[in-house]
Structures are given as C-alpha cells and as structure tokens.
C-alpha cells in the first residue's frame, strides 16, 4: 500500500484543523472498510490518515426521549443493531444497518462512512432520510447542519467543503404511531449491492387509521439517493392501504431516474421502485401500529 502518516485525533477541533492544514491531502478514517481498499487500490492518494474513532462525540451512540438519537459518524453498524432502544424506535435504520456487507464489515463500517462515500446505492441513506436525520458537520471553530437528503451531490460527492468532516448524525425522536422500513432488491440473499433500495416512514394519527405524514426515499435510481417528498405528501390524510400505497408508489416511480447497468435495466429498476415502495409502506404502517 502507498505510504502515509497516521494521526489519532483527540477531538473534533483537532481533526478539523488537521484536515484544513493538509488541504486535500488528508483522509478521515472511521471504519476503513471503503477507505483502506481505496488506498490499497490507489483509487485515492493521501499523505495523512486521520483516525476519528478516539473522539468521544464521533464514537457516541445515545438516545434521549426529547433530543432523539445521536449517532457519532464512526459508530459501526453492529453497535446500532445490538442496541435494544434503537431496534424499537428506528426500525428503518435497523433494516439498513443489518444488511450492509457481512457481519465482519458491520463490525467496522459506520453509517457516517456510508453517507460520506455518497454511493447512489448506499443502503443507509434512504433509511436515514425517512427517519429525518440531520448531519452535524464540523469545522475547526464552527458547525453546520444539513439534512441527509441534501448531503450527497453526485456519485462520490458531498456538500463537505475544505476542512469539513461529518461528526455525527442526529435523528429526531419518533412519536407514538411512527413506523419505518428499508427494503432493497438484490439477486441473492446477502452480500450484494442494491439494484434498488427504498426507505419509507409513516406517522399515523391517534386512531392509527390515518396517515398524517410520510417520507419516501429511493436508492440506486439516480446519481444520488433521492428524497421524493411529493410521494410522501400524497399520503397525508389517507387511510393506509393498497390504494394509497399504489398512488405514492406511482409518484416515486415517476421521480426515479434510473440507468441501465450490470445490476439491472432502467425498466427493471423503475418496476422495482413501485414494488418496494408499496411493500416498505405496508411494513412501516404495520410497525407504526405496534
């Protein structure tokens, strides 16, 4: 592998300062499951690797009923799906964290890294979007917040600017009557990249018979993960069921801009968006009623 220096950052300011000083010649290391491969294969060059796992905020995983869920950007998937509170309250996120790579990848890979890699097919991103996640982005002196749906700008590209890195993700606390799900289509059972991924969340009213809010997000059908606000909005006031789900699914299909590649044709992908949107909505509603 290419030569580089390695520094373990003590705090957010330290990491951001190093990043700024080595403008464009430093890389942030969280779980390393993408970075180390890219460095080895020389798809990336770097002089410095900044390990952020020792920063308390960046490795924090905490839930507060008022504040919601805070996921440090280096928290590996296995910590997320082994946390009973998160399993109960953020089911869409659990769906995604449980199917990224195999068990040994989940032992290291973080949702923050999945997001920063900005793959159009990243499993965690539609799930984060439907849970309303916000990115907490650090600079040496300041912070800024960006909703996950606005974070990716192109394949492999994000809104992160010079000296900035993703410190944590913040998800609002789900009210009673909230449910979410993430589904993906792959041609086998495990260890594959999504042909299409769909996240859906619903908020039901007190009777649990009407939808008061919904969010739908798509993966692998556009240059970035796609938040389809109009598909969720079409469900406001609707009774959960096949008719309403089909209406939202048709809007999601129209919003998708898939390409044909080795994983599937554009036509197949558009079909899958419809099927997975209906199914993800049905699961989200079922979970919201529990």
């Amino acid at each position: 592998m290419q030569q580089f220096r390695y520094i373990r950052a003590h705090n957010v300011e330290h990491a951001a300062t190093l990043l700024l000083q080595h403008d464009g010649r430093a890389r942030i290391l969280a779980g390393g499951t993408d970075l180390i491969v890219a460095l080895r294969e020389r798809r990336l060059e770097t002089e410095l690797v900044i390990d952020i796992k020792g920063i308390p905020e960046v490795s924090e995983l905490s839930f507060d009923p008022v504040e919601g869920l805070r996921i440090g950007s280096s928290v590996p998937c296995h910590r997320i799906y082994n946390d009973a509170t998160i399993v109960a309250k953020y089911p869409g996120l659990i769906d995604a964290a449980s199917l990224i790579g195999g068990i040994q990848i989940q032992g290291r890979a973080s949702l923050g890294g999945n997001l920063c890699n900005a793959s159009p097919a990243a499993d965690s991103i539609p799930a984060l979007i439907v849970h309303g996640a916000i990115c907490d982005i650090a600079l040496p002196q300041t912070r800024r917040r960006v909703p996950v749906e606005a974070f990716c700008t192109a394949p492999g590209k994000t809104v992160l600017e010079r000296g900035e890195f993703l410190a944590s993700l913040h998800l609002p606390p789900p009210p009673p009557g909230f449910g979410a799900a993430y589904l993906r289509f792959i041609p086998r059972n495990e260890m594959d990249i999504a042909v299409v991924g769909v996240g859906a969340s619903v908020q039901l009213d007190e009777s649990r018979q009407r939808i008061t809010a919904a969010r739908i997000a798509l993966g692998a059908v556009a240059p970035t993960p796609l938040f389809v606000q109009e598909a969720g909005d079409a469900l406001i006031g609707a009774e959960p069921g096949d008719e309403a789900f089909a209406r939202a699914a048709a809007i999601a299909q129209a919003a998708a801009r898939p390409i044909s590649d080795m994983r599937g044709t554009a036509e197949h992908r558009r079909h899958l968006v419809g099927v997975l949107t209906r199914r993800a909505l049905a699961i989200a509603v079922e979970r919201a009623r529990k």
Partner: protein
C-alpha cells in the same frame, strides 16, 4: 516518510508490542511481523473473510484494519483457539465433519463461527448461513461447515 510506529496490543491474551508502518494492515502485521500465519490473505478487500479475527470480541476483516489501529485493543486469532494443545470445540467439529478441504478459508470460518456462538449459543441453520455469508469457501459447498457449526453449538 517511512516511519514506523510502536503499537501495544493484546494478542490471544498475551500483551504484545510491535513496530509497523501506518500503511501495513493488521493482517500484514500478524503474518509478516508477528509470524502468526493463521489468518489468510484471500481477496485483500473485505469480501472473502479468510483474514477474519476478533477485535475486542467483534468480528473484523484484518485486511481492512490498519496495524496501528490495534493500539490498546484485544485481538484474537485462530492461533488462540486451542488451549494447552486441546482443540476448540469448533475445531474438533470441523475435523469430525470434514468441514474443510484445502483449508485456506478455515481460520476465517472458525473465527466467524466463534463470534456467532459467543453472541448466539443456539443458532438456527438459517442464522448460521446468514452469519457466515461473509466467508467464502471454494471447496466444501458450505454444507459440512454449517453442520459442524450446528454440531458444535449442540455439543456446548
């Protein structure tokens, strides 16, 4: 530029210090610096599981961990499974079921299976197959491996 770093860690219960370059993976350190050649290099990109080790009890691909990241962590490799010359129950069951042919993937499978049984002592066949999906074997067709793991769980 080519500076080496001292790393203090615990490997198979033994406090261990080593010198490595930041660019060396934990797999390279285990094999080339420490002479622990149990973990194997298959794909070197996280797909095959032949290099699997436990880091603080968590299953990881050692090819996707930098040696310097092992600082202050606890590493377990296949060399630590047998105690005082007595095979670990999983190793014994792999032998009994002939759950290996060429043997390259075996250390990785043993560590994955150990992590599974530590986490879930009584897995179903589906759970075993799901958990082992990140380990590739080109010889056995997996069935004997799955049976060996289930038998080890039953015998525990």
């Amino acid at each position: 530029m080519k500076s080496r770093v001292i790393v203090s860690t615990t490997i198979n219960g033994e406090p261990t210090e080593f010198l490595c370059e930041p660019r060396q993976s934990l797999l390279e350190v285990l094999r080339d610096v420490l002479g622990l050649t149990g973990a194997k290099e298959g794909c070197n990109n996280g797909n095959c599981g032949a290099c699997n080790v436990l880091m603080d009890g968590v299953l990881v691909n050692s090819c996707l961990v930098l040696g310097v990241e092992a600082e202050s962590h606890r590493i377990e490799t296949v060399e630590g499974l047998a105690v005082n010359g007595k095979l670990h129950p999983l190793q014994q069951k792999f032998l009994e079921h002939a759950a290996l042919q060429c043997g390259i993937c075996t250390p990785g499978f043993l560590l994955s299976a150990k992590a599974l049984l530590d986490h879930n002592p009584d897995p179903s066949e589906a759970e075993v197959r799901h958990w082992l999906a990140g380990n590739l074997c080109r010889c056995t067709g997996y069935d004997k491996i799955v049976r060996a793991v289930l038998d080890a769980a039953d015998s525990a």
